[in-house]
């Protein structure tokens, strides 16, 4: 096993991820597994070769993920979906997930410094009305019990989001409560 060098701060740098249990060897993957991977290139990823131990769940999870984040024909801009993912990951404490989605949020918003402040200072910082509303909604959704309420909806509406965009916030933030728990509990990030 390679040496793990875990990051101790949130970062937008590219991180590796090391599984705590054995992924399936690439040579053992069957067509059922490739269907689960959705993209054949994901066979190169330790994380996806681990999750492909249950290919039906992985396939459905992957297709849910792709539509929530990549279907930008309408609804919330990609940058703010990624912001919801990054804020959720920051709050739950997933350094790996936060690194990936903070990078995406920076790329699509061109607000790299603001995204870095979210990582450095946490979810309580002031990022302007619209981003504050998205971050607060994401944090409220991530809390257990769920704390998302009418005040969050009202704040998102005041910030200019319509109901379809609010559903995109709900989907994006909720999805990262799924993703964070897998990445945090089946392995760890490494620099």
């Amino acid at each position: 096993m390679s040496t793990v060098n875990p990051p101790v701060v949130f970062t937008q740098d590219e991180l590796g991820w090391v599984s705590w249990i054995d992924p399936l060897p690439e040579a053992e993957l069957t067509e059922r597994h490739f269907a689960g991977l959705v993209d054949r290139s994901r066979a190169k990823s330790e994380y996806f070769r681990l999750l492909v131990r249950d290919p039906e769940v992985l396939e459905a999870r992957t297709k849910t993920d792709k539509d929530i984040f990549y279907n930008t024909a309408d609804g919330l801009p990609r940058a703010e979906r990624e912001l919801a993912a990054a804020a959720t990951s920051r709050y739950n404490g997933c350094i790996y997930c936060a690194s990936v989605h903070a990078r995406f949020a920076s790329t699509y918003s061109r607000r790299r410094d603001d995204v870095q402040r979210l990582l450095d200072e946490g979810v309580g910082i002031d990022l302007g009305a619209r981003w504050n509303a998205v971050v607060r909604a994401s944090v409220a959704l991530a809390a257990t019990p769920v704390a998302f309420g009418p005040d969050n909806v009202a704040e998102l509406r005041r910030a200019g989001l319509d109901d379809a965009e609010i559903v995109d916030v709900i989907n994006s933030a909720s999805f990262f409560n799924w993703a964070n728990r897998l990445m945090l509990s089946l392995g760890e990030p490494s620099k």
């Binding site: 297709k63 849910t64 946490g122 109901d163 559903v167």
Partner: protein, 198 residues
């Protein structure tokens, strides 16, 4: 039997032809695959590594830990239908495990200032016989993932293995807990939005 009704729409009270139904239809692949995720977890083609009763018990526990809701009631009924004798035991564990999250420790360093302590839930020795070793270990792991996922460590894999979980079973167990964390929040968010639009 395959379920045909969309479970998120049902639990969120979204009626066909309503405004939220139309909005949900704009993310059809996500809607369909959230449903397929539910089916793959609760009506799997292969339940050898993680039995249907165990799945229902973990689901009732995870959703119950989030407080009473239509989602919690749904999985409690699923457990009652599959293993009525376990409902009382799982309800007792929910009562023992309820708290607020997320909390836990970050890797030692600058983030340690944000560490928060909280309940480290364990099934009591007197209650283990009613659940069995596998399910007791699964509930402890589920509580970890629900409330303090950042505390998860490789030792937790060993605890599950010692209780009889295979590596593939651990992956499906993790997916089930994590998926429910998603499903429950989508339902909660949609219900809130629906109420705010009435």
């Amino acid at each position: 039997m395959m379920s045909t009704t969309d479970i998120i729409d049902t639990l969120a009270g979204i009626e066909p032809g309503s405004p939220l139904d139309a909005i949900r239809a704009r993310r059809l692949q996500a809607r369909d695959n959230a449903q397929k995720s539910y089916l793959a977890l609760f009506e799997p083609i292969d339940a050898v590594e993680f039995s249907l009763v165990e799945r229902a018990a973990v689901a009732a526990f995870v959703t119950g830990l989030h407080g009473e809701s239509p989602v919690a009631a749904f999985y409690r009924e699923k457990l009652a239908a599959g293993a009525a004798a376990l409902v009382e035991a799982v309800n007792a564990e929910i009562a023992q495990g309820k708290t607020t999250g997320p909390y836990g420790a970050f890797p030692p360093g600058p983030l340690s200032a944000e560490d928060e302590t909280g309940l480290i839930y364990r099934v009591g020795a007197d209650r283990k016989p009613a659940l069995g070793a596998r399910l007791a270990a699964a509930l402890e792991h589920a509580h970890l993932l629900v409330f303090r996922p950042r505390d998860a460590a490789s030792a937790d894999m060993k605890a599950l293995r010692s209780a009889g979980w295979s590596d593939t079973g651990i992956v499906t167990l993790s997916q089930l807990i994590a998926f429910l964390s998603f499903q429950l929040r989508v339902v909660s968010g949609l219900r809130t939005l629906r109420a705010a639009s009435a």
